[in-house]
Amino acid sequence: MTLFGLCKTMAELTAEKFIVPILEFQRNLFPPFSYPAGDLADWFASEGGIVTLAWIYAVNIAFAVGMTNLILVIHLERKIAARIQDRRGPMLSLRAFRELGEDLAGEAPTWRFKGNYSGIGIIQNMADGIKAITKELIIPNKADKFLFSMGPIIFISSSVFLLVLFPLSDRFAASAAPAGLMVIMAAFSIAPIGVLTSGWASNNKYSMIGGMRSAAQLMSYEIPLLLSMAGVFLLAGSYNPVDIVEQQREATWLFGLPMWNFIPQFIGFIVFMICILAEVERVPFDLPEAEAELVEGWTTEYSGIRYMLFLAAEYIRGFAGAAVATILFLGGWAGPWPVPPEIWFLLKVYLIIIFWIFIRWTVPRIRTDQILELGWKKLLPLSLINILIVIFMVEIYPYFDDIVNLPEVF
């Protein structure tokens, strides 16, 4: 049963049991003015209404799954960073809720600091997030007020949009666009507009330089990124994530070993991993928010929940980037053992994320001119070479039919 099928069943149920009766009741309440309740009731009873409702459910489920992952990723980042640095990281324990219970019940407060800080720190992120809601939202006096509030909206909405675009497996998918990966990459490249907008609107020099750097970096890395993806599209003959993963699942190598794309297209894989790292702006490519010289980069002037959502959106982009890498090069949800494909997929995504966390905490940041040089002079030619190799492979494939098993696409 697919996610969509499940959602459709749920939608039928809710429409039948709740929505349509309520709307019917409203229509019958005052018949002369039945518009729009009556029309809505008719629509929810029809196929279109149920499908729409099903989509809403599916999108929300995907969103919830993504958000759960987000909390886990942030927690993982803080804890792994701490372990790399030979310390413990956040330790706020679930036992701290005892204080919350006391406050809610209106009891006299007791103090057990030691008990509060002896857990794994998973609720630290929740505390940070809720605190951000209560903080004052400052708009600087000389900032462009409209764009200052628009910047976060563009950035965050385009990032959250990413969550519903990639499938966790062929059955667990909120969207099934035939050009799925193209849509994902398009959504990825909306964010620089938000960054540039908020950087400029803050009326702060650090923010502006951060925004400019971000725009330059994302623009120069978009090209090798897409070119390195082109090899995969050539092999699969499709932009659809499901088709790409199916192609990798079917392809086998010597002794019947699975041949996921990172084996034949190793250069492309390396180029893609570097470019996606730059695309999601993580160390060593986090120039736009280079702490040492640009205070907090383009988020310098943002406070409260706006800033916290920026932070969250960056992690969402990281998660989405890892998911795209998994789909393209690591065989997506394909795996040797009979484990649910969603688990396989998340396992690979988390492996990539942990790899990124290790990179982030063990290398310094590189400089703007160096990053652009790397992008244009090294990665771009490499990605072109990768395409050549893939074309060559596709052409000579018939001669190696007995040892390599590729699906017939060309």
């Binding site: 960073a81 640095q85 040492a292 310094p364």
Partner: protein
């Protein structure tokens, strides 16, 4: 982008203290710079004139928060010169050990502060982890943390505690292992070298003219160390070498300055070991320490950051008539337009971090 001035500081992650660096940038390239100091001017010199000679060690401890012992030692040496006090040999050995431990702690502080400048926070925490070892070690004889107040006029506060040598040896051994470990993480790392090599260059001749001394000058390949050239305590008798590095013929860059300090740490370990080997028994405090002094005296010492000079004028009373502190960083910061010009905005932290700023001594 047109040319514009960017003001960094006093609250800025790059500054490592309280000062403002105004840079004029053309796009990302630095055209001009204008440093501004004084946010930490506590008027130590004026306050010193109101305090007795031995009281001023409290102030000198707080001159440089990263290496307080060396500054107190510099002051104490100048007062001893002024009062003509003889220091017992054992006290001189203990002082040397403490100075070198402090130099290790100070260089580790610098290395830790330098890493976040390059975007490497783990490096900072590694170095600070090691610094903690030396802080604990310095805490043993002096009884306090960070600001030790251990050097006294005519000797040291008290003798070394029992088992200090063994503890030191254990920590030094661990520290040497860790330094080798860090070589892979930092100086052999490609990105680290990309960020530090060929950045912030100045030649030795320029440096001497601009008033740059200490490890920054030794990074240009100039063999100058006041521990040898204006020798004090027992540095003559101990077996060690001056560390120099060069980025090219006669000039230094961030990487050579980094390496000089790493080498110096290894050399400090050598000095400490040798001191323990040669240390005699005896008193640790001079039997005769006068309270009043007249005339004038100065001593210069090799601080962790360069040439520290204390100039004292006494008028026969128990308080100094004039007390002048020369901070190596004061002139080094003043010269920053020279070695910042032409580099990128992202190089500012890399360059200013590599010269090891301490504002406490600079602003006095």
């Amino acid at each position: 982008m047109a040319e514009m001035w960017i003001s960094m500081g006093p609250q800025h992650p790059m500054t490592h203290g309280l000062w403002t660096l105004k840079v004029k940038v053309d796009g990302e390239t630095i055209v001009d710079a204008d440093p501004e100091l004084g946010y930490l001017h506590r008027s130590v010199e004026k306050m010193g004139e109101r305090r007795k000679y031995f009281m001023n060690t409290t102030l000198t401890d707080r001159l440089c928060y990263a290496s307080s012992t060396t500054w107190t030692h510099s002051y104490v040496l100048a007062v001893e010169e002024l009062m003509e006090v003889e220091v017992p040999t054992r006290a001189q050995y203990i002082r040397t050990i403490m100075l070198e431990l402090q130099r290790l702690a100070s260089h580790l502080m610098w290395a830790g502060a330098y890493m976040p400048d390059l975007g490497h926070i783990t490096g900072a925490l590694y170095f600070w982890r090691d610094r903690e070892l030396f802080l604990n070690l310095l805490e043993l004889p002096s009884g306090s943390r960070l600001l030790y107040n251990y050097m006294r006029i005519g000797g040291v506060k008290r003798d070394l505690p029992d088992g200090f040598e063994q503890k030191t040896e254990r920590i030094l051994k661990l520290f040497e292992q860790r330094l080798d470990e860090y070589a892979d993480l930092f100086e052999n790392s490609k990105i680290f070298r990309m960020r530090t090599e060929d950045v912030g260059k100045f030649t030795g001749t320029q440096a001497m003219n601009m008033g740059i001394t200490g490890p920054n000058l030794r990074g240009c390949g100039i063999k100058h160390d006041l521990r040898v050239e204006d020798t004090y305590e027992i540095y003559e008798e101990v077996d060690w070498d001056i560390c120099t590095r060069e980025a090219g013929p006669g000039y230094s860059d961030c990487f050579s300055r980094y390496m000089v300090r790493i080498d110096e740490m290894k050399e400090s370990v050598r000095i400490i070991r040798d001191c323990f080997k040669k240390m005699p028994q005896g008193p640790t405090m001079s039997s005769r320490v006068p309270v009043r002094a007249s005339g004038e005296a100065f001593r210069r010492t090799e601080d962790s950051r360069g040439e520290a000079l204390m100039y004292l004028v006494g008028d026969g009373s128990d308080r100094p008539y004039r007390w002048k502190i020369k901070s190596p960083m004061f002139t080094t910061i003043s010269a920053c337009p020279h070695y910042l010009k032409g580099y990128k905005l992202a190089d500012i932290p890399a360059i200013m971090g590599s010269i090891d700023i301490c504002i406490g001594e600079t602003d006095k």
